[in-house]
Point group: C2
Chain length 214, copies 2
């Protein structure tokens, strides 16, 4: 059965997954890189940068589970880029350069569809204006029986959680208080009733939480 | 040096320390007892109920640190009781019965002062209309050189954190999404810069966080 998964999604202890003021230079707004410092040393991140080595402790092990068995990703437009409203042109193809780390079809949710873009390495961006359920239908079809990853940001993950479409959720809680930005948990009262939840704190100070189906 | 400490203060993963709708029957509103289930088996809680035994694992060990060296407590009026506005009478002396578990002077912050009440076992409730700093001055004087505990609720702890008056903060993060109530972290952006933070998850599923002065 094709599952729907979220991996390596970081939030502050006050529940913000991104700060205020996203821009080309600050994809996470005033949060800067602070939500992801635990992730940078991992082999998963290092390999995304073309470097073969990286940490393989518990943070590394958990991070590495993100891509096995994934056949497609769905992301919100704010993960794809800092632009709002109609596209001025189609020059922007994400933050990740010519060879993005996804290597699968990626469905970008936007009210402003544009032509698909085939990148190097197997990533193709499709731009669709669709409900979570319809986006998932398309992604599942493209995934050919494999799992679908919901890549973020918080608004997108929250929408999929609200419709109970997510089977596996990995959250990394970082011990900082961001104070403002976009919250993950809003509107999800009682979420714990639908999942088995495990938590573990690692020496980086991050608490990893996994939400899986009971 | 007399320190200011918070212990055994539970919040949900979305940061609520109490739910909506506090009443005589529901001190934590719609949260019920869910934020404190980890605490009930501990020897600390069991002894408050007059039972000598209780769990002494990691939850128990952390919970037990709450009273050594404490000479006074400060609490908000909503921790003391569900009443709002002027007191209709002085019959209410807290949720804890004739012998409250504090055994020290307890300063209740309220805009409606009333006469002090001496309870059994060394607890005396004083009702004061004071700023955090002035309340702390009075509590320190009453504590005779010992530490002062800030007992909650969230509004009170937040006010003391905002003025940087707290030296030791123990938070137990419970893996539930409450959705509504009173948040702990609001208005405390950058709090992590003032503390050394450690986290540990225990088999009960709770993540204990300690914030201490670096």
């Amino acid at each position: 059965m094709s599952r729907v998964r979220v991996h390596n999604f970081s939030i502050s202890i006050d529940g913000f997954a991104t700060g205020e003021g996203q821009s080309l230079d600050t994809p996470f707004g005033h949060a800067g890189e602070r939500l992801h410092e635990w992730f940078f040393p991992t082999r998963t991140f290092q390999q995304m940068q073309g470097r073969p080595e990286g940490s393989a402790g518990v943070d590394g092990a958990i991070a590495a589970t993100w891509d096995a068995g994934i056949g497609a990703e769905i992301m919100g437009r704010n993960k794809f880029g800092p632009h709002r409203g109609p596209w001025e042109n189609h020059d922007w193809n994400g933050w990740w350069g010519p060879n993005p780390p996804f290597h699968t079809p990626v469905f970008v949710l936007t009210h402003h569809p544009r032509p698909s873009v085939e990148m190097e390495g197997g990533t193709t961006f499709h731009f669709i204006d669709a409900t979570p359920r319809e986006a998932l239908r398309q992604a599942r079809e493209a995934a050919g029986g494999l799992d679908v990853r919901i890549g973020g940001g918080p608004t997108t993950i929250r929408a999929f959680l609200a419709e109970d479409l997510i089977d596996h959720l990995h959250i990394a809680v970082v011990p900082i208080v961001l104070g403002r930005g976009e919250r993950l948990w809003d509107g999800l009262e009682g979420l714990e009733e639908r999942f088995r939840i495990e938590s573990v704190t690692t020496p980086s100070g991050v608490t990893h939480m996994t939400f899986t189906r009971p």
